[in-house]
Amino acid sequence: MDRRFPFKVLEHIFSFVDSNEDRNSVSLVCKSWFETERRTRKRVFVGNCYAVSPLKVARRFPKMRSLTLKGKPHFADYNLVPDGWGGYAWPWIEAMAARRPLLEEIRLKRMVVTDECLEKIAASFRDFKTLVLTSCEGFSTDGIAAIASTCRKLRDLELRECIVDDLGGDWLSYFPETSTSLVSLDFSCLDSEVKLSDLERLLSRSPNLKSLKLNRSVTLDVLESLLRRAPQLVELGTGSFSDELDPEEIAKLTKALSELKQLKSLSGLWDLLPEYIPLLYSVCPRLTSLNLSYATVQMPDLIDLLSRCSKLQKLWVMDLIEDKGLKTVALCCKELRELRVFPSGADLDETDVTLTEQGLVSVSEGCKKLESVLYFCVQFTNAALVSIAKNRPNFRCFRLCVMEPFAPDYRTQQPLDEGFKAIVEKCKDLRRLSVSGLLTDKAFEYIGVHAKKLRMLSIAFAGDSDLMLHHLLSGCQSLKKLEIRDCPFGDTALLENAAKLETMRSLWMSSCFVSFGACKQLSQKMPRLNVEVIDEHPPKTRPDSSPVERIYIYRTVAGPRLDTPEFVWTIHKSPEVGVSRLSIR
């Protein structure tokens, strides 16, 4: 008893512990540390909204000021999770509104958020400052208007890639008439037009605004007027960049852009026309982040832009950049840390877009700080992967999507096993990996042996047998999230490694060979796993050996959830009950 630190001292020490992982470790030391930690945690992160009940979280952290939640599995981003699966924000908002009215920040990812939720937030949290919704759906612009009008201390309102019922641009006029405290505003995912005068007036009375991301319907001819009112911007997402401007307008816009002395990040640029690239020259030298995902510019115009961005750390671009453009990046962008190259679909049109594995090899050679890659390519080679791994052992995130399923090394016709072996062998800090192309069980043996820090792994169209899954589940010590589609195995490896699943956040398998019987066995074996079968057909109508379409397995202390739709079946723990769909209506 006397050897314990007084609460106040512990509290002070813990105030320096920021990361939630560290705080989780701290809370496991002993009861008094658990108590002190929980009373001092301000930022709460729940990686799976069904892993724990909202009430428990609200009770545990009385000083909570910020809540981050994630709902649907990651593969929902690619249409693999049917509509209506779940991930409802309401129970959380309701619980926090009742118990934690001092909550200031809510960040939600892949959740269903209704207007009711937004209205509740606006009505319940008097100091509410930050709302960030990423890949969320279920609300309309009315809900946004409620937030804008009621949250007087609002600093951040960011709608990132949400699906919004867009009832018009009126919501923008709901911000208070007196000056606002806005620091960041992102409505790039909305479709409808906002009134220019509303936007201009908002910018004029938001002196703290640092980040502004417009939607596509904001045309190029009005951009100058907006930028004039917000020269302090650090992040800018433009609207459409393709409308015709006369020379005077071009001159004015060029000047307005050059006045953005603090600008570090540029995005939007929908349909950027090559003739407008020179307008951006003045901002290029300061840019650390450039998102050209919607800028349909091709080579060689892209070179004019990229060769001027010597400070660039993050580049998102389409494969229209081709190998040649990536070579320029390798030469000019020495600070590059993150590269994403998306498929423009040009290969489907048989137009000439030469983006090959060579592009990524060049960048891995020239950009010594590169640590995160997402690369879409039609085919690849082992030799390229080996080079890349040798060049850049500092990769933390390596996601390669070879778009032809089962595509072997196109030079040697061999599987890409050896290439990915090099990646996991050399890149000892690898946290996230996506594999593709023709892969045998051997590839996964290598991953299991070497990828000790790997936390998230995505697999599609790969492997030969249950051995693949077995290698991963028995080898990858740090594995937290595993998502697999279209691979030919399931049962044996799952059942043999059931205990591993409780150390992970979740496992997703779709279009694999996992039988209903195995799901039942797994669920009965592991009390703290929810085994969800997502299937058009009721599992009871089929034999136990028949495979199910999708399974989603996640650890939870909240038991089976009560909000499953018709096509989701949570396997019950007791064999007599079998399968049930508990729901409250």
């Binding site: 690619y78 249409n79 778009m403 599609a460 279209d486 495979p547």
Partner: protein
């Protein structure tokens, strides 16, 4: 309790109910696993390659616009009864008239569009982006360029 729309049919790969033995060393392609192997399947697949919906939509419309403006628009043309198809760059034609003239020349027969279904003439049909077969000539040329995927010259009696 919030529940979004009731169960909606969703596309998924259908898996055969017979499980392969773990000792099989290669993927059994005879099972009815549907995967986007051909480029046309990749074109219409909603879940491969793995890109987010907004990007997917943007890229679709990008390609449509590019087809209309500066990129060549190659489509395959088949004549019923002839196994080998021909490839045609639609962007080189100014409208339906020049397209039909060219096709008639290429296949050495008289090809017409919609309108009267004459027993004597071959009729030109096209497959649109939704996969449906339509009569050529029903919509403005520009719209046609945006939606056409394939062309087929049908035998006169068939129509």
């Amino acid at each position: 309790m919030e529940n979004s729309n009731s169960y909606s049919p969703y596309s998924s790969s259908s898996v055969d109910s017979t499980k392969p033995s773990p000792s099989e060393s290669s993927v059994n392609l005879s099972l009815s696993l549907t995967f986007p192997s051909t480029s046309s399947q990749r074109e219409t697949s909603q879940d491969w390659p793995p890109i987010k919906p907004r990007l997917r939509d943007t890229l679709k419309s990008l390609r449509l616009r590019q087809r209309g403006y500066n990129t060549a628009l190659f489509v395959k043309v088949y004549m019923e009864g002839v196994p080998i198809g021909r490839k045609l760059d639609l962007s080189t034609f100014s409208g339906y008239k020049s397209l039909l003239e060219n096709l008639s020349h290429m296949f050495d027969t008289s090809v017409i569009s919609g309108g009267t279904r004459d027993r004597k003439h071959h009729v030109l049909t096209y497959q649109d982006k939704d996969g449906d077969w339509m009569m050529v000539g029903d919509i403005p040329w520009d719209m046609f360029l945006e939606t056409v995927r394939r062309l087929k010259i049908t035998r006169p009696e068939r129509c």
